[in-house]
Symmetry: C2
Subunit: 260 residues, 2 copies
DNA sequence: GACTCAATATCGCTC
DNA sequence: GAGCGATGTTGAGTC
């Protein structure tokens, strides 16, 4: 059966449906008056009120109030759900091992409850992120400037990773910090710290640069930059390169490639 | 009416129910075969498949697949939902102004659809966070050590805010960095940066400290600490104080206080 | 499993 | 509305 719905069932009938749904590994939706308590990484209590409960076949457990994107309480995938009747109420428990977390829902009045056998074989295709930008720049380094040659990606320094490291046509070292959205002052500070890290590092290549009087150029690469960030960047002698993150889905790309 | 459910309705009937639900500002749940596209801060496409759609009266729009805690696509509160019929299919659009974002769902087969008038006047009560730790330490400073006196909270320095600033019994300056969970190396680095910031700041009190040969003590306060963080901390001459975040709900506290 | 980093992060708070 | 920090962040990739 694809799905089953019970309207205003007793807690006992609700319990039977939950058991059936868990056995069949289906997705459960409940609209009910409930009370919620959580203990684990933190501690929380939510008094009686109506909410929507969703339990997914992967163990995910969500409780939504009528506001906000985020669930008021939840458990992550691989949590174990069990249910029982106590004092005529329906209890749902979701348990996680590491870290030890327990979510307990006490239901006293079910408005409706259902389970659904979801058939979905598709995955989200997306674009427009920092990684896509990095991929694009590695493929087409001339987007940064003529003669730019990337030499490393995710290059580790004291305070983090430099997104892209490379050389310009004069063999100056170039340090690229990528942002997929409008760059703020934090992005400039981050890049500044990486540049300091590089200067403090004992690195043969850098020593060679120094002996040849090569510069280290810092470049912030983003679609746009905030005013205060631009000011700090100019004071620090860092350059700004405006590049939009690629807005092309892989599927579109694949289609384009297939055409040739 | 508290709620309404339609099983396997036509897209036209589904459209009517959506319109009614939007007018009544209720929460909508739909289990249907749909196709989703999003364009805004990023870009995404999700091909035909069955999902659960939730639209809340605050404008929140969620699309859940059968896995994960996070929705596969969504819009935040205050988004505007509209619906229409095109090519015999039901379209749902959720639009946001700033930043400009559009989520479009095309539904070709509805398994069930309902709206629910949720009554919920409760808010989540929680404990076990960094803020609770700070409150506790401000109330009971001797938890840090005998003679500790807090002087400021959220004290602003170049790279951020010092959680708690204070003095020990010898009038040495104490800089506390709080973490509600196991402290990692980033917490130590953060504290180290704040200490550097303080030393670089032109501050009368600090000058006075210097003239009196007072020290600046950095303290990382957390329930526990990772090995590498402990190593760095010891090298930096920073102290570690183990304190568990308070696990007491405000309601419990209130009851306790009322008892006296 | 632990660690690191990005995210359409979301959310609450301050300015 | 922008900016900043915390989050039971989640999720993905790497080691």
């Amino acid at each position: 059966m694809k799905y089953k719905i019970l309207e205003k069932p007793s807690c006992e009938d609700g319990y039977d449906l939950v058991q059936e749904a868990l056995r069949k590994k289906t997705t459960i939706l409940i609209f009910a008056c409930c009370k919620v308590s959580y203990e684990g990484r933190a501690l929380s209590e939510l008094n009686w009120g109506e909410r929507i409960i969703m339990i997914k076949p992967d163990g995910t457990f969500l409780i939504h109030q009528e506001k906000k994107v985020e669930p008021v309480n939840w458990q992550p995938p691989k949590s174990r759900t069990r249910s029982y009747i106590k004092n005529d109420n329906l209890f749902l428990e979701s348990h996680r091992r590491t870290p030890k977390e327990l979510l307990t829902v006490e239901i006293r009045k079910i408005q409706f409850i259902n389970y659904a056998n979801i058939e979905d074989f598709e995955e989200l295709e997306q674009a427009g992120y920092e990684k896509d930008m990095g991929d694009m720049i590695m493929e087409k380094p001339h987007m940064i400037e003529e003669g730019f040659t990337p030499t490393a990606r995710e290059y580790s320094v004291e305070h983090g990773f430099i997104d892209i490291l490379g050389k310009d046509s004069d063999n100056n070292l170039m340090v690229l910090e990528l942002k997929a959205r409008k760059a703020g002052i934090t992005a400039v500070k981050q890049l500044r710290r990486y540049l300091q890290d590089l200067e403090n590092t004992d690195n043969d290549y850098l020593k060679e640069c120094e002996s040849q009087k090569k510069k280290i150029r810092g470049l912030l690469v983003a679609p746009s930059i905030m005013d205060d960030a631009l000011e700090l960047l100019e004071n620090e002698g860092i350059e700004f390169v405006s590049i939009e993150p690629p807005r092309e889905l892989k599927r579109d790309k694949k289609v384009t490639l297939d055409a040739f």
